[in-house]
Structures are given as C-alpha cells and as structure tokens.
Assembly symmetry: C2
Homo-oligomer: 109 residues x 2
Amino acid sequence: MAPTRSDLLQGTLDVLVLKTLSSGPMHGWGISQRIQQVSEDVLAVNQGSLYPALHRLEEKGWIHAEWGNSENNRRARFYSLTRAGRRQLAEETESWERFAAAVARVLAT
Amino acid sequence: MAPTRSDLLQGTLDVLVLKTLSSGPMHGWGISQRIQQVSEDVLAVNQGSLYPALHRLEEKGWIHAEWGNSENNRRARFYSLTRAGRRQLAEETESWERFAAAVARVLAT
DNA sequence: ACTCTCCTGTAGAGAGTCGAGAGGAGCGAG
DNA sequence: CTCGCTCCTCTCGACTCTCTACAGGAGAGT
C-alpha cells in the first residue's frame, strides 16, 4: 500500500469537499476517491475525517443529503451543493488563495 | 482595529517561523511582526500561538534560544535556526508546496 | 510618576484530524 | 450456498494546534 501522506491541514477539507461536489451530486466514498485522484495521490481523505466533515457541512446547510443507490448498486448517501454551499465555496476558495499566496510570499526568499 | 484575518491553518505556523528565522536570529515579537509585514497583513500571528510554537520548536531542537537585548534595549529572547532546523525547514517547505499544489489542482476545475 | 510600547508568557476552550474499529450489503468464486 | 472481498457509512477517544483573554515586567517619553 502506498504511504500517500494525507496530513490535511485543518480547514482545507471543507473547501475540497465543496469543490468536488460542485460538479454534481456524489456519495461520500466517491468524494474521497475523487479528491485523491485529482490531487494525484497527494491528498488522502481519511474516513474518520470525511464523514464528520460531511455531517458538519450538512448541518451548516451547505450540502444536502439523500439516500440512493451507487453505480455498484449499493446503498449510498448522495450529497449535493445547496445555494448557500455554492456561496460558501466561492468564499472559501478566495480565502484559500489569499492565504496560500501569503504563505508563498513568506516562503519565497 | 483592522480585522486582519489571521486564521493560520494548523501546522503552517512552524514553517513560517522557521523560514523567518533562516535569515538570521530574531526575537519572538520580531518574528511575528516580520511575518505580518512580509505577508502584507494577510497573516497575523497571535501571541497565544507564537510563544507556544516557539517553545515547541525549541523542544524539538529546531531552534535555539538565548537571552539578549533588542534594538530598543529590552530583554528579549533571540531564536536562531539549528542545523536540524534548517533540515526541517527544507522538508516542510517542500511538503507545503506539494500540498498547496495539490489543493490548487482540486480547486482548479 | 504615569503611560505607552515592547516583549514574554500561561490557561482554558474549541475545532478539526487521526487511527482504530464496527457493521451491513452486493457480488463473484469456489 | 457460503465465503470473502469490495463498497459504503459511521463513531469514538486521543491528540495537536490555534484562539481569546489574561498577566506582568521593564525601558522611554511626557
């Protein structure tokens, strides 16, 4: 098994999930697969972080959950972005960019 | 009072401090000023985060502390990077860059 | 003297991730 | 048919780190 360092920085998971959901509804397991794939295995989402995050996001009204069946015919909970979630995604994306740019400025000698 | 969102992502403070120290010894208060300045006020380091971080870094042997006098003739604790700290800085810088790039990949549709 | 700025430090609370573990259900292989 | 694998969801305790708020000493200017 590849070590695939996860080490999600606190607070990044939310925006990652929101963004992943912005291309359409998806179930939790799929979201984690997707993030790992798109990040080229740099980011790995632990299940112990994923589901609490999903519930957190749902409680805040940024995503909406619904039971359904996966492509493999399994019971899965599909999440989709709400209007508020879309707004939140925009906000968090911008603040991530500001933050990353600032860190980069410090790190650049 | 300017709002200056701080919201340091957990784990970023260390590399920021290490990097700031890489250009020479400096005292805690100066480090926080420097980071805020270089980041163009995007990053603000709280004192309640700074000093514990400094002590953490020292305990791990990445920085070395020494009492001295500041430019304003005040008692100040000067920190400098150790050899291990330099190594750590290189490592953390690289892993930050990998991480930031990965997040950027996810965020870029 | 008094106050301002510089400078270091601590304590409690809160947020979020990690590792580990549990469990159900579909599907293919033997 | 039963076993085992993959898919999929979920929870708990430990841990780490940041935040807010607080406390205090000492030099410098008024």
